[in-house]
């Protein structure tokens, strides 16, 4: 493998990772506040759909290079709305969080396709749009390998990397982060100190909708250019795995997301090697999922999960 290919591999890795990073960061907000979010998949679907539709209409309106950003804004809005369903059910009405997350996945799968058919005269997918263009950072993109690999990426990739750092800061250095984590660890401790547990959890879940929405948007706006039933196929679940690998820490989740992105990207490159021909392609496709299980077996388990994760908060219970 020469250096150019290596640069391309790195670049493709980041393309695949970006959506996972956003969604995993979203998952962290929700789960750090104590709400299991298995609905990331559905929230990404909402985001991908909204970005495709919003991007399409913005492009038609002649917004040019701004059109994909309109798509991102739409994805954020629709992601938040979708996550509100989860929040209302699991926080206000104390529904089982896993079930209400599953509901999100169902509703997203049904409603996005329903709306695509509604908006585009029964078509199975949204019209193709231009999406984002890669942006070369001056000077830096001239560095060998890394220049090609990192500094010649989609704007969303830069945004994702910046957000990892911002969210780390927010979680561990600010009052908001301290309160959010306290609510996920010991809600009644936070409550008796005047921290509004329900509000913090609503914020956590809504931020997860917002970020998973952007995550979904990056897939339509950088990879597929359109939204169809298979645009998001399991990415949300992999984002959950990335979050758990990363021990609910933005930096860890970033690392895990890049790892998953890499194992998806490698599929396209491994075929450059002669020896890979002898391995059935199905086994290459399996790699990320088998690796996930292996890593889980050898590492974390559930020990570093927020303590109150999955428990509805009931102030009457002591």
């Amino acid at each position: 493998m020469d250096l150019v290919t290596l640069g391309q591999l790195l670049n493709t890795t980041l393309v695949f990772s970006t959506a996972l990073i956003f969604a995993a960061l979203g998952g962290i907000f929700s789960e750090r506040s104590g709400v299991v979010n298995i609905g990331l998949e559905g929230l990404m679907m909402f985001g991908a759909f909204a970005a495709a539709v919003g991007g399409h209409y913005a492009q038609d309106a002649g917004m040019g290079a701004w059109a994909p950003w309109v798509g991102v804004l739409c994805a954020m809005a629709v992601g938040v709305i979708g996550s509100l369903i989860h929040a209302v059910a699991s926080i206000t009405f104390k529904a089982d969080q896993t079930i209400s997350g599953t509901v999100i996945n169902f509703l997203a799968a049904g409603s996005t396709l329903y709306m695509v058919k509604l908006f585009f005269d029964g078509a199975g997918e949204s019209p193709l749009i231009d999406g984002f263009k890669k942006f070369s950072v001056p000077v830096l993109s001239k560095i060998p390998v890394i220049g090609e690999g990192i500094f010649n990426s989609y704007p969303t990739t830069y945004l994702a990397i910046i957000l990892v750092i911002v969210i780390y800061f927010v979680l561990f250095k600010t009052p908001f982060g301290l309160r959010l984590r306290a609510v996920g660890e010991h809600p009644s401790a936070a409550d008796t100190l005047g921290v509004n547990v329900k509000r913090m959890r609503y914020i956590g879940v809504m931020l997860s909708g917002l970020l998973a929405g952007i995550g979904g948007a990056t897939i339509t706006l950088t990879t597929t250019g359109t939204f169809a039933h298979n645009t998001i196929s399991g990415q949300g679940f992999i984002a959950i795995a990335a979050m758990i690998f990363g021990k609910w820490n933005p930096l860890g989740a970033f690392g895990a997301a890049v790892f998953f992105g890499f194992s998806q990207a490698i599929r396209n490159y491994v075929q450059l090697f002669e020896w890979s021909k002898s391995i059935p392609q199905e086994f290459i496709f399996m790699i990320p999922y088998v690796l996930t299980i292996i890593v889980l077996v050898s590492a974390v388990g559930r020990s570093s999960a927020p303590k109150a994760l999955g428990e509805p908060y009931d102030p009457g219970k002591r």
């Binding site: 660890e185 010991h186 100190l193 005047g194």
Partner: protein, 512 residues
């Protein structure tokens, strides 16, 4: 003093829950600089009342005045604003956070967008010095002792400028020495102008530290008296509603052969920390051995080792001469070892099973309950009917879910099940925790009855009074070791306390 308005005045507070009046027209005044004890049994309505003062519940009727002004306390935030702080019985501390983080949570000093941890730690240090609390601001909660954790709880209220402090059963988890220190802290707080409500059911503490006592029973105020003008017997009678004997009636024990014998038992936690550390003792037929100790010194691990729930690394555990170390819980149970677990909700019952189903939790697979893999529901039901009659378990029916029974009746159900196995060894861990006086009497009588029938009884309790009253012999556990073995008649609280704190060793194998 008397001219000023009381700092807190509760006027005819009534709070109803479905099916029960938790507080029935309760009135109470707290004067400035006073330590006012609130005495009552479990379930008398103390906690409900204090949760109303702290804004967690809203009263259905009645009003609250602070410094003579009527107020409505609709949230903990409002309570904090009014200068009310609560030191909870079950500490409300975020374990992975530092002391400082726990204290400033919700009122963090800021520098730009960031929390200003430097000035926060500085404030915590100052408070700690002012009240002589000796708390390290940067320690993590899971690394500090229970007594220290309680001081963090106190500092949380002081940091918020509380003038009225509510202590909810603050001594339940402390050693006698730590209790003495807590009393000193409370006196210092009062000297600095704070006022304190002390919720407790321990008469000794009330006599020691309080200025006045309000006794409530079944949600009603029975009386408010000056502490100097009363005595423990009078208080107890008012609390329970009838005369109470503190001494448990029991005959001289007829001690027989060794039933349970532990020799040099060692076990480590997951992180490699020794939790049982060369532990040895013996329980004989016909005696009750009480294990005294502060929570977290290896009591739970000890029980787990005997019942097969924890692997031991070395040493021997024998029941009637047979080695049982590292056998499965079922094998040990089949050797006629019964176990009343310390956490009845978590370990003793399947709350969503019916009473009937719970009664065969350990025996369902045996004849006559199981025939060829199928359960004989009629036999199981009849068995349950017998037991609830025999042990007076109050339940609407045997088909009722265990969840909807009262704490006392849940415990009775467990005791019925365990005693019905006709054990040679009965392990009772915290068997009276959270029960009212009637149920406590019942449980203790059952333990003594078992011992009188020649069973060996191992009693583990954090309540020194219980250990002193019920046991025939006492072993003190400290950091996974037995540090003393004494007879209740020739020791006292002070001596036990010193042993529980690890600063005195006496008798048994302690010297070896």
């Amino acid at each position: 003093m008397s001219a000023a308005a009381p700092v807190v005045e509760l006027k005819q507070i009534t709070k109803r829950f479905p099916g029960i009046v938790a507080n029935d027209s309760i009135s109470l005044t707290l004067k400035k600089g006073e330590i006012h004890a609130l005495l009552g049994e479990n379930g008398a309505g103390k906690s409900t009342l204090m949760n109303i003062v702290f804004g967690l519940y809203q009263p259905d009727e009645g009003s609250i005045e602070i410094d003579g002004k009527p107020v409505i306390i609709d949230s903990p935030n409002k309570a904090i604003e009014l200068g009310i702080g609560m030191v909870h019985q079950h500490f409300k501390l975020v374990e992975p956070f530092t002391v400082t983080e726990n204290i400033v949570l919700g009122m963090e000093p800021k520098k730009g967008l960031k929390i200003d941890y430097k000035s926060a730690a500085e404030q915590v240090r100052k408070l700690s010095e002012q009240y002589g609390l000796q708390v390290d601001p940067n320690a993590r909660i899971h690394d500090i002792s229970v007594g220290m954790q309680q001081r963090v709880e106190i500092m949380k209220t002081l940091y918020r400028g509380a003038d009225i402090l509510i202590f909810d059963e603050p001594t339940a988890v402390l050693t006698p020495q730590e209790i003495t220190e807590l009393m000193a802290i409370m006196k210092r707080l009062v000297a600095e102008g704070k006022s304190i409500i002390l919720i407790t059911h321990k008469l000794k503490e009330i006599m020691q530290i309080s200025d006045r006592v309000t006794i409530i029973r079944r949600g009603k105020v029975i009386d408010t008296v000056e502490t100097s003008g009363t005595n423990p017997n009078e208080l107890a009678e008012k609390m329970v509603g009838r005369g109470v004997t503190f001494k448990v009636d029991k005959q001289v024990p007829h001690v027989g052969d060794s039933v349970l014998k532990l020799t040099n038992v060692n076990s480590k936690s997951k992180d490699g920390v020794p939790v049982l550390n060369g532990l040895s003792f013996e329980v004989k037929a016909g005696e009750i051995l009480g294990i005294a100790g502060v929570d977290g010194n290896g009591q739970s691990e000890l029980i787990q080792a005997i019942t097969g729930l924890r692997k031991i690394d070395s040493g021997s555990i024998k029941v009637s001469g047979q080695e049982i170390a590292n056998l499965s819980p079922r094998k040990i149970s089949e050797l006629n070892v019964s176990h009343i677990p310390e956490d009845r909700h978590k370990h003793g019952l399947v709350l969503d099973f019916t009473v009937s189903e719970n009664m065969v939790l350990e025996t369902y697979y045996m004849s006559p309950y199981n025939q060829g893999g199928f359960l004989k529901m009629d036999v199981i039901d009849r068995h349950a009917e017998d037991l609830i009659k025999q042990f007076d378990v109050r339940t609407p029916s045997i088909e009722t879910k265990a969840r909807s029974l009262s704490g006392g009746n849940q415990q009775k159900a467990i005791i019925a099940r365990e005693i019905d196995k006709n054990p040679i060894l009965l392990i009772a861990a915290q068997p009276t925790r959270g029960l009212d006086v009637g149920a406590i009497e019942f449980v203790q009588k059952q333990l003594i009855a078992q011992r009188d029938q020649g069973k060996a009884v191992l009693l583990i309790s954090f309540e020194l009074d219980e250990i002193m009253n019920v046991s025939d012999r006492i072993a003190v556990i400290y950091e996974g070791q037995i540090v003393g073995e004494v007879f209740p008649q020739d020791t006292n609280d002070q001596e036990l306390g010193l042993m529980m704190a690890g600063s005195l060793k006496r008798g048994g194998n302690a010297g070896a």
